[in-house]
Symmetry: C2
Subunit: 459 residues, 2 copies
């Protein structure tokens, strides 16, 4: 049963399991104690820190363990913002950061700070120029992920780090998605990562703060982890995290090359096998194991259920999935289609057969969802009028776009369709549909109870 | 090799180990996901929450898992203080709380809040009257441990909870030391605990917040754990924590009765076997497995090393141990001797033979330390003058008290010895020595470079 969501969590690496077992026996005591069990725990903790620091590319005394990648990000952002409070209260983030960074930015704003979001292009990438424009004399911190967690696009961290260094602004890199594939290049100042993304156990994050970066930990602290991460250390998990990081990095280049070929196959074949699909993210500058595509006229949650029934575990950034009513902020920032969104992230060891099986199942699954939504029927051919208005108020993703697709044949080339919708996702998906179909998106205007989106038929 | 520091950390309970193994296989995925691995993880998380809530005595939707007991305390204190900000900025804590509570109180004060410390008696216990006096109209929160982590004294939580309820003030109980022995009695509002204290794995704390308590989580949050504990859940450890809590509680009454007898033996025999020793903490209202005593004229760190060499792992609240230069705030608040301090906390399963072996080794270990410090030599017998001044400036614990003991024979009964010391611990240990030896402590006065402590010889 193939699990294709390693960007969310990966099963425990065999090396992590072995290390965890051993350190449950050897590393349960308090490493701050003077007796033999404590000294043994301290040795394990020190060795894990050395190994993790080597993998990250920093000094051991620059690295602390936190309870999760999220804690590492929260602690790192708050610590630098406070340490550089005198310089100013300005924070720069990319528009496609992980929610942990954006949540930290929200808290900063709520406390009177200012935040600039650096935009991305349609592949999800920022530019160094974007950061150059954003940072200023009052910028306390800039944040950039090493690679995007939803679409896999690798960010130009080294160039952005240069821009930040010129401006005297520290750069925090969220390396959660990439550290298992190799160290982050460039002169970053602060780095955060999460062990369960590389096959380590949950409960362990890394926070590295380069010497010389002004850092003032916030909230209550204690004597643990250089005063940067309070609470009893989760030592067995830390030992397992460090051991598995070393193990996955030793295999990373070979496994990346292998998975890159499998992902390229998905990227290439999905557009041939499934009509009306958009593969998003940079095709080349990307994580080796991750690909995301969106399917027109498809409810993401139903598609996930269909794929799950067929034995494939994948994720989705569609607004119509699970608890959220807004589409993924990443897809929104990229300006790409969000409906019927599927993220495939292959864990190490994924076989070509598993990928082929997925590609065999996918077209039928998408077609099945479209059938159920009634979009398989041909669009009406005969234009009725130059202007048509479609009332999609109260309908949820992907229905407004389906209504638009049904209506476009009712106007001649040059005619206009107006869709009334109160679904947040229409703002993203109607322009995306126009760009996929070659029609012109004319813009939006408020109407009672929603928004009017206007589209000119051009083909 | 007996390990007698279960109040710091306990080896993993066999049930915890089993549960951890099983949930490493079944519970590694993200419980927020819709696919089968995610649903399986969600079932495990829900079941662990039910089990933990039952053990705590609360509803499952009142309980969240945190990365440690320290995080549970920090989150609980900050959440209630913020939720009740309109009522006022006054926080009440006992003087003998765990450092995590006191650190949270320090942060509260640094942000403009006020803190009242409720004093304790010589056994380390607060009184309900002490809390009645401390809480007022502007009190946002009161905190009280269920039992003290250094001396084992059980606090009158139910009575204090009543006082707080009458005053309309929520009571946060730090149950870290006692939850493995049974649920906390009384109408507490918020409860924090730590799994590795009951034989669960590190990396798991509990935070229970009763419905109706105004609670506003601080700092960045996410959709995890009701928005109260951000970051990917440490699910295998959570499952193990809940399973072992259930297991230890099933054995708790029988094991408590057994260990209580062993601790009583230590309490009784230590004072017979070791000269100049003070057993501290309440002899009856106490944790079943924990006893603390202090030895005059003993360097706590050296004693710990001696006991470690003899195969016994114990802890100490002495100032002369490890990194700290101030004595334990608990012993200080109790006003008892801190030098040569030893805390023995027996893990479940400790045998009578192990305790007997400890009692056999202890007198020689203490005598050996005293020999090395030169206090085994008889005190000079002949009084020289009515007043003697001893310059102990620059000397560290336990030397100032040793100098005092040497000097007391140099004055007649009724005469006065003045000790000059710049060691913080002298302020605690000189009065404690007087009370143990039946002399009168006359008080302190500042002198250049330190403090003059005056003692009248009465026996």
């Amino acid at each position: 049963m193939p699990y294709f969501d390693s960007a969310s969590a990966a099963p425990l690496h065999p090396v992590a399991r072995q290390a965890l077992q051993a350190s449950l026996d050897e590393g349960w005591a308090d490493p701050a104690r003077l007796y033999r069990e404590g000294r043994r725990a301290r040795l394990l903790l020190d060795a894990a820190r050395e190994a993790a620091a080597e993998a990250v590319g920093c000094r051991a005394d620059e690295l602390v363990f936190t309870p999760s990648g999220t804690h590492a990000v929260h602690t790192g952002v708050a610590g630098v913002l406070a340490g550089r409070r005198r310089i100013g209260g300005h924070l720069v983030v990319s528009a496609v950061e992980h929610s942990s960074v954006l949540h930290a930015a929200e808290v900063h704003e709520a406390h009177g700070g200012t935040v600039t979001e650096v935009p991305v292009d349609r592949t999800g990438a920022v530019t160094a120029a974007g950061y150059r424009e954003a940072v200023g004399a009052s910028t306390a911190l800039a944040c950039l992920q090493s690679a995007n967690h939803e679409v896999g696009t690798v960010q130009p961290v080294a160039e952005v780090a240069e821009v930040c260094a010129e401006a005297g602004v520290p750069l925090l890199v969220d390396a959660a998605q990439s550290l298992g594939w190799g160290p982050v290049e460039g002169a970053w100042s602060v780095l955060a990562a999460s062990a369960h993304k590389w096959g380590g156990p949950p409960g362990v994050g890394l926070l590295a703060v380069r010497k010389g970066v002004r850092f003032s930990p916030q909230g209550p602290t204690d004597e643990r982890e250089s005063g940067r991460s309070p609470g009893f250390a989760n030592l067995p998990a830390i030992v397992a995290a460090a051991a598995s990081l070393r193990a996955v990095l030793a295999e990373a280049d070979a496994e990346a090359a292998r998975l890159r070929i499998l992902v390229d196959r998905i990227r290439r074949r999905v557009v041939r096998l499934v009509p009306d699909v958009e593969v998003v993210g940079d095709p080349d500058r990307r994580l080796p194991h991750l690909v995301t595509f969106s399917c027109l006229y498809v409810d993401g949650e139903i598609l996930l259920h269909e794929l799950d029934r067929a034995g494939f575990s994948v994720n989705s950034g569609s607004s119509c999935t699970s608890s959220t009513l807004t589409p993924s902020h990443v897809l929104r920032a990229m300006g790409v289609l969000s409906e019927g969104n599927v993220r495939v992230s292959l864990p190490p060891g994924t076989s070509a057969e598993e990928v082929n099986a997925f590609l065999e199942v996918l077209p039928g699954a998408v077609a099945g969802v479209r059938d159920r939504l009634g979009v398989a029927a041909p669009e009406p051919a005969a234009p009725e009028a130059d202007e048509v208005e479609v009332d999609a108020l109260g309908l949820r993703c992907p229905q407004p776009v389906i209504e638009l697709a049904r209506a476009i044949g009712r106007v001649p080339v040059g005619g206009t369709v107006t869709v009334l919708s109160d679904d947040e996702v229409a703002r993203l998906d109607i322009p995306a549909w126009c760009s996929m179909r070659g029609h012109v998106y004319l813009g939006e205007a408020p109407v009672p109870g929603g928004v009017a989106y206007r589209v000119r038929r051009t083909v």
